[in-house]
């Protein structure tokens, strides 16, 4: 969802933040969690686990929204998410593509 300005009650609104827990030694490197994370939070790490696979790690700071999809799609019981401290709404979360309003557009096109 995108808005053209920050909501007025942005400071009161908490954003759900999840904490990703990765049980690295259980991972078999199928990459399902990395591929199907809706917020693309996870990425493949460069380290090996004891089985020789690359377990995922949470690459994006605070982007996990605790949807639990990685937990349900992991065949190995190797990842789970707990709800963390709710964060605040940031401008980057809301203002994706800010278009000028109609009056401003007309002003630019035709002059005053």
């Amino acid at each position: 969802m995108s808005f053209w300005r920050m909501p007025l009650d942005a400071e009161e609104q908490g954003v759900t933040v999840g904490e990703v827990h990765i049980i690295a030694y259980r991972c078999k490197g199928c990459r399902y969690c990395i591929e199907f994370c809706p917020n693309n939070v996870l990425a493949e790490s460069e380290e090996f686990n004891e089985k020789g696979y690359h377990p995922p790690y949470a690459a994006k700071d605070g982007k996990c929204v605790n949807c639990n999809f990685c937990e349900t799609i992991c065949p190995e019981f190797a990842i789970f998410v707990t709800e963390g401290k709710p964060g605040n709404l940031q401008p980057a979360d809301v203002l994706h593509d800010v278009k000028p309003g109609r009056r401003l557009q007309r002003k630019r096109r035709y002059g005053e």
Binding site: V17, E19, V20, H21, I22, I23, A24, Y25, R26, K28, G29, C30, R31, Y32, E35, F36, Y53, P55, Y57, A58, K60, D61, G62, K63, C64, F69, E71, T72, I73, C74, P75, E76, F77, A78, F80
Partner: protein, 306 residues
């Protein structure tokens, strides 16, 4: 965000001797799994673990009593899931999961009996049992993990192998028509029939909740990738490639059409809930038709004797 990697200390020789699992209890769902059995044997990218997770989540969400839930399975990769669950589970002989489950249900109708097994176990060796259990409408929930092959024995062709698929017993491509599992279950008289792929984890979980609460025979087909035996020979790619294919080619079907729900090799997949009807179960029918009348006949006999 801080990264939370959980790393368990290695097992001591004493623990290893007792068959303990390293780091058992690290995952919140571990309480539903038997210690000493995890990690499981399924290959990287196998979908059976996802079906097992969905089942545990369904058990958790539906609020069903784990002490009154029985999981029965036959033989095969997916049938091993019964051995991993920390419930009352039975790993029966090949193809005989449904007769065993029928016996459990009829002996103690209070129990919530679930059968988790594969396509080869339920439809090839146990093919006769599933149609008769569906015909009688016995109150069972069947979860059939369909991976189109006999995975555990090395990828032989089975009754669900699509036409043209290469397996160890069909090196030039399968020439037989496969079963249409959902259509067959519905035709045999099941009161709940659904099909989801393992990518649709939440729908699969909700279907399991529905099937467990539904009185009558309910059948769920979970389409799962088999990267080792089926996909490798048919050049379908890794498990991830098959999941992408599920995402691309699966669509929600409105009704149970025979040709539309048929599955081919790398063909489109019709998913959804196909049948959901209310029907008296086997025990209801037995009580109303046989037990009551037998009691009345016994009363009449007593009167005559007097």
């Amino acid at each position: 965000m801080k990264n939370i990697f959980i790393d368990a200390p290695p097992l001591t020789p004493d623990q290893a001797k007792l068959g303990r699992s390293k780091g058992y209890g690290d995952h919140p769902l571990d309480k539903y799994l038997k210690e000493g059995r995890i990690p499981h044997i399924w290959c990287s990218g196998c979908g059976i673990g996802i079906v097992l997770t969905a089942f545990i989540k369904a058990l958790e969400k539906s609020g069903a009593d784990p002490d009154k839930t029985v999981v029965v399975s036959g033989i095969g990769c997916s049938a091993r899931s019964a051995g991993y669950l920390n419930l009352d589970t039975y790993h029966t002989t090949h193809g005989r999961a449904i007769p065993f489950a029928t016996g459990v249900k009829l002996a103690n109708p209070e129990l919530n009996v679930v059968v988790i097994s594969g396509d080869g176990d339920l439809f090839a060796i146990g093919g006769n049992h599933i149609i008769h259990a569906a015909r009688r409408n016995i109150d069972l929930s069947i979860i059939c993990v369909n991976n189109f092959t006999y995975g555990m024995t090395g990828g032989q062709g089975g009754p669900t192998t699509p036409v043209g698929a290469i397996s160890t017993t069909t090196p030039y491509g399968a020439s037989e028509y496969p079963f249409n599992l959902v259509y067959m279950a519905a035709a045999a008289g099941a009161s709940y029939v659904a099909r989801w792929t393992v990518l649709h984890t939440r729908e699969l979980r909700d279907a399991m909740i529905d099937s467990m609460s539904k009185p009558g025979f309910s059948f769920i087909e979970a389409i799962s990738p088999c990267p080792t035996a089926h996909a490798r020979r048919n050049k379908l790619g890794s498990g991830l490639d098959i999941m992408r294919y599920y995402k691309e080619k699966s669509y929600l079907a409105d009704e149970l059409d025979r040709d539309e729900t048929a599955l081919g090799l790398a063909d489109k997949i019709a998913i959804g809930k196909f049948v959901d009807v209310e029907k008296p179960t086997y025990l209801d029918m037995y009580n109303s038709h046989v037990a009551d009348r037998a009691a009345q006949a016994a009363k009449k006999k007593k009167k005559k004797k007097k």
